[in-house]
Amino acid sequence: MFVRRITNFLGVAWFCLAGLSAEAAHTEARLILAAETARPGDTVLAGVQLRMDPRWHTYWRNPGASGMATKVEWQLPAGVKAGTIQWPVPEKLPDEDLTTYIYTNEAVLLVPLKLAGDLGPGPLDLKASVSWLECDLQCVPGQAEVQASLNIGSEIKASRDADFLHTWQTKAPKNGEALSARAWWEGAGTGKSRYLLLEWNSAAAVSEADFFPDASEDFEVQPATERVPAAPGKIRLRKEVKKLAGDWPRQISGVLIQQSGPARLAYEVNLPIESSPTAAAVNTSPAVAIGVVAPSLWKMLLYAFLGGLILNVMPCVLPVIALKILGFVGQAKDEPRQVRKLGLIYALGVLVSFLVLAGLVIGVKAAGHKAGWGMQFGNPQFLVVLTALVTLVALNLFGVFEVNPDARVMDAAGTLALKHGPAGAFFNGVLATILATPCTAPFLGAALGFAFTQTAGIIVLMFVVVGLGLASPYVVLSWQPGWLKFLPKPGVWMERFKVAMGFPMLATAVWLFSLIPLHYGKRALWLGLFLVILALAAWVYGEFVQRGRAHRGLGIAAALALLVGGYLYAVEDQLRWRSPVSDTALAGSLKEGPDGIDWQRWSPAAVAQARAQGRPVFVDFTADWCLTCQANKRIAIDVPSVRAKLKEINAAALLGDYTRLPDAITTELNRFGRAGVPLVLVYPKNPNEPPQVLPEALTPGIVLAALDGAGR
């Protein structure tokens, strides 16, 4: 009965020639039957038994990230038909990202053999060719011809292997039809990743649950599993699905695993994927699962307006605001009608910019990419242009050159130069909007998070309302110029104030410049040199063209030559601004300094792993260009008290770097109803409780309180 033979002589011979030390001899295969004698018309249980040497393994029907499923090819006499293999529950071997589903020690693949009703009596030879891949530190293909004989008679006679096969049968996954299992998508599919929710009924308390998917050529269910809260008596899992080709799947099959006390139960399921939960699941919709209630449009519009309003006092926009105040002072003597008109044009500049942003968001979404607030700051070319632009604004404030050619001669009070024409007012609106995007303000996070998941119409509406919020103070003030009485009268101080405002603008340029090396490495130096050439050109233009009397043509030529030459050499040739350096291999630790928080890189798998170990998890989604995030880190996260608390409760600290806008983090932000960073999450120790979403602006008190709650 026992057959162990390796027949691929040629293959073996080749391995020897190639100097391979390993042979396919770490797995033994044999064919066993539950019956010695069976009647025509019966179904006999057969088993392909695989016994692996210690440390070696073979693979399940879905091998996972690598490996190969064991194959059984039958050579059966007429009148005997083999059914499909019932695979025992495999082990999940987490090998970093390369998770595989494997068998160690022993596995019996069960196959029902159906005997035809007209089989004549006598012995039958049943044969099969079994091939597999066995792996330890190396992988080796194995193959064996196995055989067993069955007698056809007038009664059933169990074999001595019958009990053994029936124990394996009881361990095999059960039919999952009684579980009322369901599967649905968590949201729309953008890009190549989408989240799937699986839910089923369980009477017993379940300490651990998982889903082992079947293999597919068109999509892959990722190995990480997240248990999310569900109604009593139900288990709900969240799995990421990555698409390789074609449409999103409509059907999902595999094995549901649940551990109840010492019992490990497994159920075969094949489920249609619903596009959203049906009525039965509405009371526990996925939004509730992560603690975000589906918001109403009106409330979100109010949030959008308030968020826009508060943006005015966030550090990003402050230099522009100062300019605006100056503008008002300059206009104080003007006709109220002119003041109102300019106020409206400023608002128009803000609104048009927001419409452009909304259009970009819609376009990026339509192209199948992820969109996020402030996403343009992850774009290297945009940063280069903006750094140059902000530098020019600073130079303008210093008086190196003027924007409005009609005002190039300043009067004693310096008022003329400060008077914004319609173009200036519009430009201010645009600049305020661009500079506002790396900040999020209170209320704005929730509003934008809502907007980014909506239809095009609502995205436009929400963006316009944020713009209205940002512009509203000036529109109101330009209608009520009475308040200007409280400001000092126009005079020389205004010129000084204007120059003084050049410094925060210069600081903004420095901050933007600090983001450049991320994308261009050491080549960033050339942008710095270009900025100097740009400044020189601006000075030549201001000094010899705008303020000069003779040889203006020469001045224009010199300024242009500097600009074009500087651009071609420094920006095109040296900086190579069109080809930023892309992300290289990522380092393991993200710790800043010896005492810093021991950050690990965020991934859904890292969260799941830490939660499975019963640790609280602290997640900080941040980006280098996000000023609110940087402030949070300085003030409330990387501070001694929080560090000590993280150690005390043994929390895992995970950092999600959104600087380059990875899709995985955009998906996660959207899941928590956010469109951008910051997003700080605290997952409690109990893996069944949902994470707590911390507010956008943090204090150490907020963080410590949340961690205290999570550690309990």
Partner: protein
Amino acid sequence: MKRALTLLGLLGVVSGAFAAAEVGKPAPEFTATDINGQTHKLSDYQGKIVVLESYNQDCPFCHNHYRTGAMQELQRELTAKGVVWLVVNSVSPNYPSHRSPEAARKEWASQKINATAWLDDSSGAIGKAYGMRTTPDMFVVDRAGVLVYAGAIDDRPATSGDPRTARNYVRDAVERLQAGETVAVTQTKPYGCGVKYGS
């Protein structure tokens, strides 16, 4: 007003190109030393099509492609057309399948490898940046440095038999690129043994 419009125009330069090793995005840059001590940088090959092959001769899937000569043939065919073919060996020194540069040079000769170079990636840096999962796991980078194909070498996951009978996704991608067309199959599920990364 003109300035404002220019600025709005500039806002439009947003393009998605950030995450590592995603098809349709710039391929992650790397610098690596080959088994002869030469340094190779991906960006040095801008303007050429680059094929990356995750390699482990001890893996029967990879081995079958070499045993039958099919891999060497494809390497010869594509490099003759100006393609840069980099063999990436990410096996960590913790595994018996690791090759010292000397052993690798011997294997290069005995297997008659026809690639441009064999990169020593025993740190796993390139493998992880590209998300190489199996041997063989193939990547095609176009002339502009964009990753245009990732996945299996062909549609025949097997440790024996002739790979020439299969549909080869890498040849297909390169031929389409050279014909100025877009790549038809951009991503498949790689097959083979897991890459033996350290830690």
